[in-house]
Symmetry: C2
């Protein structure tokens, strides 16, 4: 039975981290909310009072009876099933730990353009966003990239993957984080990636994986836009 | 061998979610950074170039050779070992999913007083904090509490626990989230908890568990203060 992914249509958002894993594995899945009446199905699972284990927010995944929310938890569940996680328990938790750190970076990237409230428009929090963007570019992007660079360099199986000798969902998620940051902050990232050559190489290598390359060229890949997590507002790029 | 918890001394912070689990289980553990020279050990694991799987930030846990960062990942690891997680795999992932949602709420609670940058003082981002606090109190606290209330009400094993019929680490973490929010926003929480009686009852019940009660009365429990995640600035409480 096909996996059912539920996420807001029209943006990559956090759903994209799940899509990339499903696409890399060649898995059979439905991107439900992009189908006719799909939003009704999404809202029913999100708000239906009979749902025993309701997700707090999209994305969530339905796999038969299993309904799982939280991007990192979805990937933890899918990892072994899609052969995108190591078999060893400790290594699997390490992949998950990396994913949680990527999730932290994603949340911070979002809050750059929405520092006051997700319920307000960017235009209503622009002065605050300008201040946050400065700190994010100067301190946070370099700090996150330095950590990814360090763990790539220290991987005993080689610096082409975050964990072990094969692609894991964390590699795909790091690709997406870098792709998004490079869209949102092209000037800053050009400089920042010079100090993180291993992370930059991983980003380029993931983009060239056959299934990912086909996916990125397809209309299943929603283009980056200014409704998503990674938004290109030139004034925030310094 | 004792578990080693590494977290910044002087604040409860994210380390507290791990402490509560260790205390409830009566586990043998060392709160390393609060011991003499403990900060040196913490910094060595955080920044030492020979560390194969370095955490991005505290808290992290050392259990023999295992070194695990990210609060939710630490609790996922400890859960079965401390008998604070269900045996069933799906239920264990559900506990984890709840924990990740608690982590999101914790991050938002922190960002209320630090909306611009963790590298600046509260006083340097106070006008922004006042705006964020308003949105957090009016929209986010009620939304999070409503979700916890719903999943408590829908637990087929009874509304006294988030998952199943026994205490899990998610119950302890929800206690801590509510405790922290009630410290930081006493006026708002008094109102908000009236609409979340099951969550309020869980908070009270956890505080009365014998080991938790003893812990809260001990000097191992660091008092809430204005260096931690949950800070009481009356002007942010509306």
């Amino acid at each position: 039975m096909a996996y059912e992914l539920y996420y807001w249509p029209g943006i990559q958002g956090r759903g994209e981290f799940v899509r990339l894993a499903l696409e890399e594995a060649g898995a059979d899945y439905v991107d439900v909310a992009r189908k006719p009446k799909g939003m009704d199905s999404l809202m029913e699972l999100l708000e239906g009072e009979q749902i025993a284990r309701p997700p707090f927010a999209p994305p969530f995944l339905k796999d038969g009876d299993a309904l799982i929310g939280q991007t990192a938890a979805i990937l933890f569940y899918l990892g072994p099933r899609l052969r995108l996680a190591p078999r060893d328990e400790a290594a699997r938790l390490w992949v998950h730990q990396i994913q949680l750190t990527i999730a932290d970076a994603v949340a911070e990237a979002h809050d750059v353009h929405h520092p006051i409230s997700g319920g307000l428009y960017y235009e209503d929090q622009k002065p605050e966003a300008l201040r946050v963007a400065n700190a994010f570019r100067e301190e946070r992007i370099p700090k996150f990239l330095a950590w990814f660079e360090a763990i790539l360099a220290r991987n005993p199986k080689g610096d082409r993957h975050l964990v072990g000798a094969r692609t894991t969902y964390a590699d795909l998620s790091l690709f997406q984080l870098i792709d998004g940051l490079a869209y949102a902050f092209p000037r800053s990232m050009k400089t920042a990636l010079k100090k993180a050559p291993l992370a930059a190489a991983l980003h380029a290598a993931v983009a060239e994986r056959p299934r990912i390359r086909a996916y990125l060229a397809s209309d299943r890949r929603i283009p980056f836009n200014e409704s998503g997590i990674f938004r290109h507002y030139p004034e925030l790029d310094g």
